[in-house]
Point group: C2
Chain length 415, copies 2
């Protein structure tokens, strides 16, 4: 085949390949999220990336950010319209409605699905990303709102962020609606105001001010002198739980139709990147799409790409370490079976061990181990096999240690 | 909204919802696979479920099981044909070809992706399943073939299967081709023979015999008196590695075009379910689709649904345990903030703790904890808070233990 007949090695446009180093970050993201939310009593669920398209078209489920052209929707061979989920909340609402009688409330659920949006790839906004979703169903209590904020805070803390790094800004859909009524805005203008507020951080301050002026909304209406009493009580509750970086911000609105109460965004405090990292809110009517009885919910979603950027800027990304601890180099193919036997001993001793097949020069085998970032190497040669003494070499420092065969596994499990 | 206007709570046809108990099995499947393959030096990669459709249409990448109508393929808004991956091998070949110069060989990779096939749902063959994929690139050595068989064996062992439970049947594409030449079968008849052999376990013995007769293939040709020398050597190597259930079976063929050498299937020995659980083989030409230089590969794929059936029949499925260890029940909403403080103490002590908001009767709160299968409960009432002594109740046995507040976390971490 000539070169021009070859298929491209690029992934599909706007999605990522995860080579071991990228996968290690995704695994770190997943493990850190899991640890933080399971500590707070959340249990994991999951669903297929394929959902009936109706799920995102029903009134009340629409997302102002997600107009029709921004989802992957296609017709299957059976004539069904299918969507690659753009977000997880409609799915979890569907699942909860399906088993409302059996599930038991309050119900704490989390998932870390991939979600799809059909849009131009740009920093932090690929066509596919992974997203922690945390939801608490079955309580209208402000204590449930406070818990969700505490879980969001706990996830940030688990990644190593401190209160100096981020601020949780809390708004309220009912208070925003009240404001719209006071200002005499009709539903069309109210929706425009919501979209303007949601886009605030993506535009110049002058553009934002002009937008407000056009709607006849005085800027002062969005920065009131005092925090409403119920939100003040919640902020007190959160302070007692040790959270000092939660503030009221009436301009927080979120781009989803289905929010009915609390809305919030976690803001990056970095001066060059002062934007929302993620957010969430209360949606008390969403299960009504499926079910005659309401199950109130409150939750949030947090993406891997945004979090990676946040951690990278602060030097909080963990260093890559492969799962493999030691590489067995083999001077010739004839010794490969004996290297396999030693590998078996190490593995039974709990050590993740890779073995060369002895088809290349030893020096090249060590280069392969170093390329794979495997921290240790052992040469399995005639002398080593007959003497029963092996040299463990640290491939980063070059340090070497001679050990009896029977002591090898222990050396690694003690590291 | 009247009942008939409600959206269905069913997932899309042929895919599954994973409620916490189903998700716990998927997590067990993933963790068990990871543990077994990382022990053998494999590192994790991943990719998007979306792939360019060409990947499955190129000559040499086709899968006889996967004719065009069995993949999910659609056109995106940019006119690109996109496929939901039906298998992972073309993806990993693409990724390896893309970075051949940097990766370093032998290269051991694994992934546990979801894969899609458009087919009628039936036992063990849903439209979406998860699949462990293990691949070893860069060696043509029989030792590499032996290693892949050993990894497949190791995965079975990690799930608790013994040699009585399964047999690894090994075939050879070159030997099958040699047989076809000896029998004078042209390419069309050879392809028919491959399809017949691949479908052998899905048909009656009489139907299979009739198929052979039609092609003019004597049954004896497929059960030769002796094992070819190179396969016999490999079986010896595997025996030395402790594997006694690997046999030669010239009728093993696998339904993928791209296999070039070893092919194998892991068979369930259960008398009522004597079928292939999973399989794999050697594909030395696949990266040529993308790259002027060949990178030989050998690997296998193993699905979650088949493995679940295998484990279920043998009573090897693990019991469901939620990640949550203890539920704090709260006699009234006013005590919820104090319960949150105790929950914070337990969580900092490493205990996964869920808290009620005190909106229901205590007895109903305990029922919720039991529904969620949380093993322990503590009532956080006025008396307990003032005395500093709390009763830890085992919700399965009813056993109770009184403990000082400061000893609670330790109680759970010692379990």
């Amino acid at each position: 085949m000539s070169k021009k007949d070859k298929l491209s090695t690029e992934p599909y446009k706007g999605v990522r390949d995860f080579y071991p180093e990228e996968q290690a970050f995704l695994n770190y993201f997943i493990a850190t999220c899991k640890g933080a939310v399971e500590r707070a009593g959340y249990v994991e669920y999951h669903a297929s990336v394929l959902e009936p398209a109706e799920l995102y078209r029903a009134k009340g489920a629409q997302n102002e950010e997600l107009a029709g052209e921004q989802t992957y929707t296609f017709e299957d061979r059976g004539g069904r319209m299918v969507t690659l989920r753009p977000e997880m909340t409609p799915t979890v609402a569907r699942m909860v409605a399906a088993r409302r009688r059996e599930l038991g409330f309050p119900l704490r659920l989390y998932s870390i699905p991939n979600v799809f949006r059909y849009e131009r790839p740009q920093r932090g906004r690929l066509r596919e990303h992974w997203q922690l979703n945390v939801d608490l169903f079955g309580s209208r209590s402000p204590a449930a709102d406070a818990e969700i904020l505490a879980v969001a805070y706990g996830v940030m803390a688990a990644f190593g962020a401190t209160e100096e790094d981020f601020t949780i800004r809390v708004g309220s859909r009912p208070l925003l609606e009240e404001l719209c009524r006071e200002l005499g805005l009709d539903e069309e203008k109210a929706a425009k105001l919501r979209r303007l507020l949601d886009a605030k951080n993506k535009m110049e301050p002058a553009e934002f001010s002009a937008g407000l002026a056009e709607l006849g909304v005085p800027e002062a209406a969005l920065s009131p002198a005092q925090t409403p009493a119920d939100i003040a009580r919640m902020l007190e509750m959160l302070k007692a739980m040790g959270m000092g970086n939660v503030v009221y911000d009436p301009a927080i609105v979120r781009g989803f139709d289905y929010y009915t109460g609390l809305v919030f965004e976690v803001f990056d405090n970095h001066p060059q990147n002062n934007r929302a990292l993620f957010g969430g809110g209360r949606y008390d009517n969403l299960t009504e799409l499926f079910d005659s009885e309401q199950t109130p919910g409150v939750g949030f979603g947090m993406g891997d790409v945004t979090m990676r950027d946040f951690l990278e800027v602060r030097g909080l990304l963990p260093q890559y370490r492969p799962a493999t601890k030691v590489y067995l180099a083999v001077p010739s193919p004839e010794l490969a079976p004996q290297a396999q036997v030693l590998a078996g001993e190490l593995r039974r001793g709990g050590v993740n061990t890779a073995v060369d097949f002895g088809e290349k020069k030893l020096a090249d085998q060590l280069k392969v181990a170093a390329k794979h970032r495997i921290p240790y190497c052992i040469v399995v040669g005639e002398n080593e096999l007959s003497s029963g003494t092996f040299v463990v070499r640290n491939l980063e420092t070059g340090a070497e240690e001679s050990l009896e065969r029977s002591a090898l596994a222990q050396f690694f499990t003690n590291l």
